[in-house]
């Protein structure tokens, strides 16, 4: 091992050791469940070599190639964008592709499917309830100009300030980590959960949207934000910094103001006027034909 640099952090030294070829071994403790064979989930341990920068997902691939060919999980992009590989890793909901083994600071990597969802197989949770709740809150722009939405001719106007009112909430990748971490959702199946409510707030705070009245009927009921008591775990585990806890509290404020008839109702923004006398540059191709 090279000599310690002045002020260097221990994990930095560890990284140097790993890049020098001194790979270490970690023990993966993986939850298995085969619906055709198992009555209940079971744990199994594997020992694998890990190297600097190796992610939990890469460790799973290594496991599948060498020791557990039947192990099942969901993953796709490997870069924290698709939200497929949400798992329960060392007691916390995280993306397997976004979590390096070194950052766990343990020689044990415990991997289980996201809790609060039924297990389909091994590390694959059934996220259907989350997406059903998402559908119910009408997560799309609701406006009266339906023809314009179906076949847009120009853009809707939106200022930078108006964009910032919802931009944070639009980064959600629907990984389900917030739902797995929420203690209210852990005991209350009627509660919509952080992800759907955040997306409702995302559209409620969009200046182009006029759907607050429709969403209110869902949000004011038992599935709505009033079951949240700000444990804050959703915001702590969110891999994209979406901060669902904040979205839900802001939604509660809107609902209170609406109940007191103090909520300012503003008309959804208008269409941007189509510029006249503008010609398409010859090097810009036409948009492809619509497929849907």
């Amino acid at each position: 091992m090279p000599p310690a640099l002045p002020g260097a952090r221990p994990d930095f030294i560890q990284d140097i050791a790993m890049t020098n070829g001194n790979s270490e071994h970690v023990t993966y403790r993986v939850k298995h469940f085969d619906p055709d064979r198992d009555q209940a989930p079971r744990w199994q341990e594997y020992r694998i070599a890990s190297s600097a920068g190796m992610t939990v997902l890469e460790g799973l691939w290594q496991l599948k190639e060498t020791q557990a060919p039947g192990l099942a999980w969901r993953a796709s992009c490997r870069m924290g964008v698709c939200g497929s590989c949400g798992m329960w890793i060392n007691g916390k909901a995280r993306l397997a592709c976004n979590t390096q083994i070194a950052e766990l600071e343990s020689s044990f990597v415990t991997v289980a499917p996201l809790p609060n969802f039924d297990i389909v197989r091994d590390l694959v949770p059934d996220l259907t309830p989350m997406f059903d709740a998402h559908t119910v809150v009408l997560p799309f722009l609701i406006r009266s100009d339906r023809a314009e939405q179906e076949s847009p001719t120009v853009e809707y106007h939106q200022s930078r300030e108006e964009l910032e009112r919802y931009l944070q909430f639009s980064y959600c990748i629907k990984c389900g980590c917030c739902m797995a971490a929420c203690p209210t959702f852990a005991t209350d199946a009627l509660y919509s959960g952080p992800m759907p409510l955040t997306q409702a707030q995302r559209y409620n705070s969009d200046s182009r949207d006029d759907g607050f009245g429709q969403r209110k009927t869902v949000l004011a009921g038992t599935a709505g934000p009033w079951r949240c008591h700000y444990a804050g775990e959703c915001s702590r585990v969110c891999p994209k910094g979406v901060d669902p806890a904040k979205a839900i509290q802001l939604m509660k404020r809107e609902l209170v103001l609406d109940f007191l008839r103090l909520r300012r109702h503003s008309r959804p923004t208008d269409l941007v006027e189509k510029p006249e006398g503008i010609k398409r540059r010859p090097d810009i191709p036409e948009a492809p034909a619509r497929t849907v």
Binding site: P35, N116, Q168, D243
Partner: protein
Amino acid sequence: MLDVRGHPNRLGLWGWLGGGRWGTDRYLYTLHRLTGLGLLGYFVLHIIVTSSRAFGQQAWEQAMARVSGPLFLIGEYLVFIAFAFHAINGIRLVLIELGIGVGKPIEPVYPYRTSLDVQRPLAVGAVLLAAVLAVVGGLDFFVWH
């Protein structure tokens, strides 16, 4: 659509009490619920004891004698602590639910700063105030009386 019948995996009460690497606010959430249940239990007991008055003076004095030992004094003090925490933390939650102290939506840039960080002074203040009340209550229960 594929019909999937998976194995149940809801955390249930374990989701409140443990099972993960939780943050500070999660423990405040759990403590708020537990103190709420404790206060509810106290109110039930309180109603049972005071209702004995309806059965005459002797029944009332017997009931009061049963709940006047040192164990019940400590129990009442615990109820006071639960009340102090539950009330002050409840005020914090009401403020947060009105959007006070959680901040505005921001563009998430790593390392992410969440509303939990923004409202941290509220949480610390609530716990400190509850602790001060618990100390003053303790003096009132055990020293000044």
